[in-house]
């Protein structure tokens, strides 16, 4: 099983608020891998919208994206693309 982690600067204009958070959960849920987002030492489930919202991520903040599982590679690249994208 593969594990990938990397610090990412969030570039979506609204950070990870309702809409972007919802989209992130939709993407994350497509994969079998375990997906975690870590900010200031607190790690939450990337497939839970409530958990993501409670991180309070704004644009420009950096996050650690941790992906672990059989489809980690694929999940990681898609999530990274989404988080680092310049806009919705």
């Amino acid at each position: 099983m593969e594990r990938i982690e990397e610090e990412i600067v969030v570039s979506s204009p609204h950070g990870l608020h309702a809409r972007p958070a919802a989209l992130l959960v939709q993407i994350a849920s497509k994969f079998d891998s375990k997906i975690m987002l870590e900010k200031d030492g607190e790690a939450v489930d990337g497939k839970s919208i409530i958990a993501i919202l409670s991180l309070g991520v704004n644009k420009g903040m950096s996050l650690k994206l941790i992906v672990e599982g059989v489809d980690a590679q694929e999940a990681f690249s898609e999530l990274k693309e989404f988080l680092g994208r310049s806009s919705e």
Partner: protein
């Protein structure tokens, strides 16, 4: 009678009975369960989540049909809450470990998350809390097998009163039976406001204590243009408003919406354009036959958020307006709010007189980072349509020069970066401070156009705070001092070969539109629903008559005399059309 004052969120008036949408409790009593009951409670959880999901899907379809894709999108987050693994796991753990009933476990978990969100001090997320609360109430009702107030079956016309309205609630309201919205919280860009405007019904928001002062069944008058709600008003006032109401309804039916250019009988052409704030209003501007946007307010992009909008985000908003309005022009006004409105400005002291304080161009010149990002976005959008830029609250030529200097710097940067924009973009000065009106000759030499902001011009000229009820009677658009300033601005502009428009409320008031037509004003910009009326007025009068009448009006000594004179003269000219065109 109780008179409540709030924020005028969506214009129009209505009279009707109140329907209070109460805030149901989200808490539940704690009941100990036995080990054998655990699986039953978990089953109840699953059942409630599935049923709520069905309910929301139905709503989502309905809102998609009624209001469109953008509004339906908000439900995605709702649905995700229902299948949230962390939340569900948390509830199940509580049921198993603490041996409590599902209602209690659910309410505790939700409460925990809502509290976390509220602690984030983020305006945007705060607004999302109401979505989560809304989903939670729905789930809670399923546990208790209770039906919520079924608004779909509402069979009389009502004014909805609530603490706040969630998108999912407004979606389930039968539009044809809603006379207006009254809420405790909210602002000019909140969900309730946007929905009310897109439905074309009045709304007053930010009343703070509406839900405490109004009961279901109370008779209400809602005046969305003034931002006032009357609770159980006397017959006399009801009659007055009935008159207003029947006039408005009659007018809407009789005034023909004209899509051709406005011209007087003797062929003087003028531009009638729209004041626009929210993107939703653009289609209204088209619908009502506005020839472009005479005032595009950009404040909404900056408010209600914790960070500054990026240049790209602004560019998207501005170019969208420019594209949608093509080939008509769009006058983009740079931000016109106080420095204190920026959440990223933590240490701005509270000002004693904010109207005379650090706002609009004064704030922008002090914060080149904010100002230049906006100017660059406007310049980039100028490649996508007919865009003009306008600076608010200019008090003298030095401020205009400084603002233009920054614009030039932005142009240089963009050129250097190889970005396309309209190099000859028109630069306008908003005339809303008496000192600007009196030095219009100097400003005209360095501006491509003027736009007179009458609301502030009147307040500053007459030293009247319109929001102060004790002195509001002194706010008189027809005051000779105001008229002389306006006349001077138009004359000086024309002497310097620039055109001049008006984007304050006066432009949309038939009496004053007629008067300023006589002053030779070139452009009239107003809220979209006003456009047909002013176009109709212009079509029915002669420019030469307006000129003669304006020359006489300016010699009168009081606002009352001016208004009376204008009314009498217009009555003679319009005859049977007078009542139709003028809102009395």
């Amino acid at each position: 009678m109780n008179r409540l004052k709030g924020i005028a969120a969506s214009g129009g008036v209505n009279i009707g009975k109140a329907l209070l949408l109460g805030k149901e409790e989200l808490s539940a009593p704690k009941i100990k369960i036995s080990h054998e009951d655990i699986s039953r409670e978990i089953y109840r959880l699953e059942e409630a989540l599935i049923e709520t999901r069905k309910e929301i899907s139905t709503l989502q379809k309905k809102i998609l049909h009624d209001l469109g894709f953008d509004h339906a999108k908000v439900f995605e987050a709702h649905l995700l809450v229902l299948e949230d693994r962390v939340l569900i796991e948390d509830i199940i753990q509580q049921i198993k470990n603490k041996k409590v009933n599902v209602e209690y476990a659910f309410s505790q978990s939700i409460k925990k998350y809502i509290d976390t969100l509220l602690k984030l001090q983020d305006e945007y997320l705060r607004e999302r809390v109401i979505d989560i609360e809304d989903v939670s109430r729905r789930v809670m009702r399923k546990f208790l097998k209770k039906e919520g107030t079924n608004l779909q079956e509402l069979n009389e016309k009502v004014i909805i009163v609530a603490h706040d309205l969630a998108p999912s609630q407004t979606a389930s309201l039968p539009k044809e039976n809603i006379l207006g919205f009254v809420t405790d919280v909210g602002g000019r860009t909140s969900h309730t406001t946007i929905i009310a405007r897109s439905l074309g019904i009045p709304a007053v928001v930010g009343l703070e204590s509406a839900t405490r002062n109004i009961k279901t069944g109370d008779k209400l008058i809602i005046d969305g243009s003034e931002g006032v709600v009357f609770v159980n008003p006397p017959e006399k006032l009801i009659k007055e408003y009935h008159k207003k109401l029947s006039k408005i309804t009659k007018d809407i039916k009789t005034i023909h919406i004209s899509k051709v250019k406005a011209a007087t009988k003797d062929k003087r052409e003028v531009v009638v354009s729209a004041n626009v704030e929210l993107p939703e209003e653009l289609s209204l501007a088209h619908e009502y036959g506005a020839e472009g946007v005479g005032l595009y307010r950009t404040e909404y992009i900056f408010l209600g958020r914790s960070d500054l909008p990026s240049e790209d985000e602004q560019y998207k908003a501005y170019s969208n307006v420019a594209k949608k309005m093509k080939p008509y022009s769009v006058i983009i006004r740079t931000i016109d709010i106080g420095g204190d409105k920026f959440l990223s400005q933590p240490q701005v002291p509270i000002e004693m007189s904010p109207f005379l304080g650090w706002r609009a161009i004064r704030f922008c010149l002090a914060r080149p980072d904010v100002f230049k990002a906006q100017l660059r976005a406007i310049l980039r959008a100028s490649a996508e349509g007919n865009v003009k830029v306008m600076f608010p609250m200019i008090s003298g030529v030095e401020e205009l020069r400084e603002a233009k200097k920054m614009l030039e710097e932005c142009k240089k940067e963009l050129k250097h970066e190889g970005v396309v924009f309209d190099e000859k973009i028109s630069v306008g000065t908003m005339i809303e401070i008496p000192s600007a009106a009196l030095t219009a000759d100097a400003l005209a030499k360095e501006s491509d156009f003027f736009s007179i902001g009458t609301n502030d011009l009147i307040q500053y000229s007459l030293a009247v705070d319109r929001a102060n009820e004790k002195v509001a009677y002194l706010y008189e658009p027809g005051h000779p001092a105001v008229l002389r300033l306006i006349k001077n601005v138009v004359e000086v502009a024309h002497q310097n070969n620039i055109w001049v428009g008006m984007c304050g409320e006066m432009a949309g008031e038939p009496l004053f539109a007629f008067l300023t037509l006589g002053f030779q004003l070139d452009e009239f910009s107003m809220p979209p629903p006003r456009v047909p009326r002013i176009k109709e007025l212009i079509k029915n009068v002669n420019f030469q008559d307006a000129k003669t009448i304006a020359e006489h009006a300016i010699k009168l000594s009081t606002a009352k005399e001016v208004e009376k004179y204008l009314q009498d003269e217009l009555k003679k000219i319009l005859q049977d059309n007078f009542d139709k065109i003028l809102l009395v």
